[in-house]
């Protein structure tokens, strides 16, 4: 009698929680936690009928939000282009939980258990760097969609990326700040996050170089993952009175930094990196987000877009639920990563890792959604263009395109 009551109680808990909130629950960026078991077949390498491509993203943890959006872009691309070399392409999705330790396990599983021919991912440079060695040793080519830290592809001929790099991004932001009259800056970075620390450093270097003033970075603050209270840091920054604040951080912490800065009476412009291009930041920070400046990879309203881009924008907006939906830049990059890999498999004519890798390296002028692709000897996409957006009237608005001629 007691045992069955326990069961009933447990089921009641589950049903109660679910039923109360199912009505309000949004399906945006659909969490695919269930999918991480999809590669469960014990079969070794590829069936003759199916080509498996691994998707290595954080679906939970600090970067779960961005990772889910990137995964959705990849899934959409798989629906649009579902075959290559006459075989069906199957996505094997694993969740690296935004954790470097978990990342190595996830990648090993993709390679050894699921037998994927290529890997796409990850959102979050830290986990990508952690997985790099395993990928290199296994000889499976990987395409990063939005990981911007240089160390992801450095010294690893099997890792490519579809986005620009942090040194470039840092310089772009520093340029923009100085062009708008800033002489001093404050930088806030997240301790232990390669992306945040890396981008922050590149910005600092570029800013100091461009102003010629060693002391132009008046405050350099560090916070821990999962921190929510930035008042102490921001009070110190307020006392240092910078002309601009640069805070490359995750989307979980960005709205908190913005809101708390404004609540403390800090009025200078706040800038972020590519991770900040996410609607959730405007949702959470509300009117305080007005005027925030970010750099990003993709502008959905670009009138000079390629046909591929136009088709993508139209199709993906429908998938997101209508014209009002805003396409996350990382979804566009995920889409691009997928179609580039597919194109390489097509050109290589085989599913051999080294062959696909060589085909990827030879990509020249392939038209994706975020631009034309060509990879340099490091495996980085030669992108000399960054898009600067600002938040205006509760939306991300295109501000300018920055081209750097190397």
């Amino acid at each position: 009698m007691k045992k069955s009551f326990k069961w009933i109680a447990f089921i009641m808990v589950y049903v109660m929680i679910l039923s109360t909130f199912l009505s309000g629950c949004s399906s945006n960026g659909g969490s695919t936690a269930a999918n991480s078991g999809s590669g469960g077949s014990a079969a070794a390498s590829n069936d003759s009928e199916v080509i498996k491509i691994g998707v290595f993203e954080p679906l939970t943890g600090e970067n779960g939000g961005g990772g889910s959006q990137e995964t959705d872009g990849i899934k959409y691309a798989n629906e649009v282009y579902s075959e290559v070399l006459g075989k069906k392409v199957e996505l094997v999705i694993v969740d690296n939980k935004s954790d470097k330790g978990e990342a190595t396990t996830a990648v090993t599983r993709l390679i050894e258990k699921d037998g994927v021919v290529a890997i796409i991912g990850s959102y979050g440079s830290g986990v990508s760097i952690a997985a790099g060695d395993i990928i290199k040793q296994a000889g499976i080519p990987a395409m990063g969609a939005s990981c911007t830290n240089p160390m992801v592809t450095q010294g690893n001929e099997y890792y490519f990326r579809a986005c620009f790099l942090d040194p470039f991004q840092g310089t772009v932001m520093a340029n923009y700040a100085i062009q708008n009259g800033a002489k001093t800056a404050a930088v806030i970075t997240q301790n232990g996050d390669d992306y945040s620390t890396g981008l922050g450093n590149f910005f600092k270097q570029a800013f100091v170089k461009l102003t010629g003033d060693e002391g132009s970075i008046v405050a350099d603050m560090v916070f821990q993952t999962n921190d929510q209270d930035f008042n102490a840091i921001l009070t110190n920054i307020k006392a240092a009175n910078p002309d601009v604040i640069f805070a490359p951080s995750s989307i979980a912490t960005a709205p908190l930094i913005i809101k708390q800065a404004r609540a403390l009476g800090i009025t200078c412009p706040i800038m972020g990196g590519d991770t900040w291009e996410n609607v959730s930041i405007i949702d959470v920070a509300g009117s305080d987000a007005e005027g925030v400046v970010i750099s990003t990879f993709f502008d959905e309203n670009d009138t000079a877009a390629t046909d591929e881009a136009k088709a993508f924008v139209k199709g993906y907006k429908e998938r997101l639920g209508g014209d009002d939906a805003v396409i996350p830049a990382v979804a566009a990059l995920g889409y691009d990563a997928y179609i580039i890999v597919l194109d390489a498999i097509e050109r290589a004519g085989s599913t051999d890792g080294a062959a696909i890798r060589d085909a990827l390296a030879e990509t020249d002028g392939f038209e994706g959604v975020t631009g034309a692709f060509r990879f340099d000897e490091n495996g980085d996409a030669q992108k000399s263009v960054a898009i600067i957006k600002t938040v205006k009237d509760g939306q991300f608005e295109y501000l300018s395109t920055v081209t750097v001629n190397e």
Binding site: S68, V222, Q228, A232, T235, I251, S280
Partner: protein, 295 residues
Amino acid sequence: MSFDTFLQHLTNGISLGSLFALIAIGYTMVYGILRLINFAHGDIVMMSSYFMIYFMSAMPWYAAILLVIISTVLLGVLIERVAYKPLREASRMSIMISAIGVSYLLENLANYIFTGVPKGYPDMPVLTKGLHIGSLSVQSASIVIPIITILILVLLINLINHTKTGMAMRAVAKDYETASLMGIQINRVIAVTFAIGSLLAAIGSIFWGARYPSVYPLMGVMPGLKCFIAAVLGGIGSIPGAVLGGFLLGMGETMLVAFFPTLTGYRDAFAFIVLIIILLVKPTGILGEKTTDKV
């Protein structure tokens, strides 16, 4: 640093401290009665925040707040019934592990249902209005929270010391078995304890949401840990101790960053170092009782 900046830091510290205090009381109450550290408390705060988001989108704020409090209390009591009651006869380790299990369950349930993308806590203008007093910028919440915390502290001390339910709670805390032999309804007392703890979690989540409006499944982890440390610092089992511990921890963290800006990265380490020191030097906490073993 200038006096103005120091005052601003002080305000930040008191505001953060009172938030910690509010949630620490929940930990300390449950420990006092059940000798259980309810690790799921931080996640109950997180669930409460999600409840608020969904209720606020469907009804005006006064109805929403009421419903949030009721549903959080129900959640707390349900967790107790399902995960802790069956283990009352088992070793203390088992029930603590069960608490950790509930914590993970709530986090992952929230991640599955609400996805990992942060959502915005509904704005409550009465709490988030920015006030500028001289050169100080404070949210009205920063003034409201410490006052409400002290009020709750006074109310709770009254409840514990001057009501029958409070007496029952003290009896169960003293000696669980004898109390049940004396005719005290143990289940009712424990349910009331969890209800009060969850009520405080709900109120805590409302204030937390006013100060830090980003709601995501893992938002309860760090606050939960830090408030647990605050409860231990002040003396686990003692409600005034929890409030004291909360204020001390909040002020300490803020002042650390204020006076040593280069150590901002070590802010969390401060809390954990405090925990280790207090456990080494005075394990029962600042206001904790000396437990004498009766022969």
